[in-house]
């Protein structure tokens, strides 16, 4: 599967601005400007969002509220800087939004907020976004609009009971236009997912809930796109789940798999090093 899918993916149709180092650079600039936390949580989903915005989602770049857009629901709202970086590339956010992150009177918050153009849900209180995404997918299915909904949840977020309610409902409602994408970075705020609340075999759990499920390396853009396409080709009335194995803090050496970067902040030296590493990766 991988070989033919990779050939398919090498078609030059990825929108070039959704380039992971470029997105990570924006995140680091924001985080430094705002003395913000949640860097690690944003870095684990950069490639996932790049693929969705750059290749799979259909939307009107001139209108964030286009009523027939595909939906990206960031249920793990604490990864929102990764989404901001994408929205900035779309021109839905301004340079000032990046440079004045968290400054008094600014509009971008530390968690996903539905008042921001391009953010579908207000999240960060976890376990909310998936249900809203299910409602969006249900409305699209009822109206036969062809719209899809991609809901990005954290593996830690799956502790929330409402996630399981939403999974049951999505399968019962036969929402094959819904894809739950799990950012499986293996960590949550206070430890690894296994230490805090053992998740076990997540693929098996999704399967047991009547989802079509695939696992993927969440930083391999070719593999992500191949998996998304393979899942979407299954128009069988079953909702989809993509379990993306990711690295919390991916892209900056001192953050990778260091859970402190859920809450740690940049200082000038760390900021400079992060930029050097990211720019090195893009060279």
């Amino acid at each position: 599967m991988a070989k033919s899918a990779e050939r398919t993916f090498t078609r030059p149709n990825m929108k070039p601005q959704f380039n992971p180092p470029r997105l990570r650079k924006t995140v680091v600039e924001m985080a430094f400007a705002g003395n913000a936390v949640h860097l690690g949580c944003a870095f684990s989903i950069i490639e996932l969002l790049a693929c969705l915005y750059g290749r799979h989602m259909r939307y009107d770049e001139k209108n964030a509220n286009d009523p027939i857009r595909d939906y990206l629901v960031l249920s793990k709202g604490h990864g929102v800087m990764a989404q901001y970086a994408c929205l900035y590339e779309l021109g839905w956010l301004e340079r000032d939004d990046i440079d004045k992150y968290f400054h008094d009177g600014s509009r971008l918050k530390g968690l996903s907020d539905a008042h921001v153009p391009g953010c579908e849900v207000t999240s960060g209180t976890l376990g909310h976004g998936l249900s809203v995404g299910v409602g969006l997918a249900l409305a699209a299915a009822r109206g036969k609009t062809g719209q899809k909904c991609y809901a990005v949840v954290g593996d830690g977020e799956i502790n929330e009971g409402a996630i399981w309610e939403a999974m049951l409902f999505a399968a019962h409602a036969k929402l094959d236009n819904l894809m739950v994408i799990v950012d499986a970075n293996g960590f949550q705020a206070m430890g690894t997912t296994d230490e805090v609340m053992k998740l076990g075999d997540l693929n098996a759990k999704f399967s047991a809930f009547d989802f079509d499920v695939l696992s993927v390396d969440g930083h391999d853009m070719n593999a992500i796109s191949a998996a998304v396409e393979k899942l979407e080709a299954m128009k069988n009335g079953r909702p989809k789940a993509l379990v993306a194995k990711t690295v919390k803090g991916k892209g900056v050496s001192y953050m990778e798999n260091v859970n402190a970067w859920h809450y740690s902040r940049l200082n000038p030296d760390l900021y400079a090093q992060a930029l050097r590493e990211i720019e090195g990766a893009s060279a």
């Binding site: 009523p67 209180t125 909310h128 809203v132 409305a139 009971g161």
Partner: protein, 305 residues
């Protein structure tokens, strides 16, 4: 009142195909007619209220007009955060109907009794709170709720206590509706099931009685004018005396036209015993005799002209 509610739902759904009814596996017989007439607009979302409210938010974002049905112990109280974050923050047009409010489920105990629902929602921005007193008011209120641009909590309490109004009342957003006029300087303001009790006491005192189909917003100008003409108010509700109609009335008049207000409601206690609704009302001091014992000495401080 339940027939009126069923009719209102069917009327809403047949007139507007965007209307979708979601229930958390409650209200079986209540929805017989709806399911027969509008099967494609009916969703049993299962015993999963948090998800149900999130789904309703998603449907509303996509342009539908969801009506979420639950018992008021669950909708809104169990799902308060979903209502706040997923619906109210975006001012989405979702109607939440909380059935069996107050002490209706007298035999089922604390899990199904709800007298904190109004208080919970009053501090949440953008949501309106309606609390009709009879079938006529329910029908008129529901039409107003459907016309709102934002979220509404529709509180339905004891349903079989008979009519207050003789026809559909004319409603104005936030306004009280006069049930009887009177000459006594103490004015009675009640909501839901307690309007009937208020009317009985109003008859005894020859006091004017007003029904409050809205708890939020309240028409401050109307209340202020009433307070300016009255010596005192009595508020009556099958809800906690803290944070409900009584609290809302006091807050409304406190700044410009403060007068004494006796708040009749449920006190700082849960139900301890089991029995009929009438028994539960007696346990909480909301039966006519107990309310009369509190209201009469209060009203006697001000003589009728």
């Amino acid at each position: 009142m339940r027939v009126a509610f069923s009719n209102a739902l069917v009327e809403a759904a047949t007139q507007d195909e965007r209307v979708v009814l979601l229930t958390g596996d409650h209200g079986y017989a209540l929805f017989d007619e709806f399911r027969k007439r509008c099967p494609n607009q009916y969703i049993n979302a299962g015993i999963a209220e948090q998800n149900m409210v999130g789904v309703a938010a998603g449907l509303a974002k996509a342009g539908l007009r969801p009506i979420v049905y639950g018992l008021s112990a669950f909708v809104p109280v169990r799902v308060l955060e979903q209502i706040k974050i997923d619906v109210c923050y975006e001012k989405l047009p979702v109607i939440f109907t909380g059935d069996g409010a107050g002490l209706v489920y007298s035999t089922l105990g604390t899990s199904h009794q709800s007298f904190e629902d109004i208080a919970c929602l009053r501090a949440v921005p953008h949501i309106e709170i309606m609390s009709p007193c009879d079938a006529h008011e329910l029908t008129a209120c529901f039409r107003m709720a459907l016309a709102q641009e934002g979220p509404v909590y529709f509180r339905m309490g004891k349903a079989d206590i008979g009519p207050i109004h003789s026809a559909l009342p004319r409603l104005q957003r936030g306004g009280l509706v006069q049930v009887r006029a009177g000459s006594h300087p103490v004015v009675l303001i009640a909501t839901g099931s307690m309007v009937k009790t208020a009317r009985a006491l109003g008859d005894e005192l020859d006091a004017s009685v007003w029904s409050a189909p809205w708890i939020k917003p309240l028409d401050d100008a109307q209340l202020g004018a009433l307070a300016a003409d009255a010596k005192a108010f009595v508020t009556l509700e099958e809800h906690s005396f803290a944070g409900g109609l009584g609290g809302a009335v006091v807050e409304s008049i406190a700044e410009a036209t403060p007068i004494p207000v006796l708040r009749i409601g449920i006190g700082e206690r849960f139900s301890e015993t089991c029995g009929s609704h009438a028994h539960a009302m007696r346990e909480h001091g909301l039966d006519l005799a107990t309310v009369r014992e509190r209201v009469m000495p209060f009203a006697a401080k001000w003589k009728a002209p």
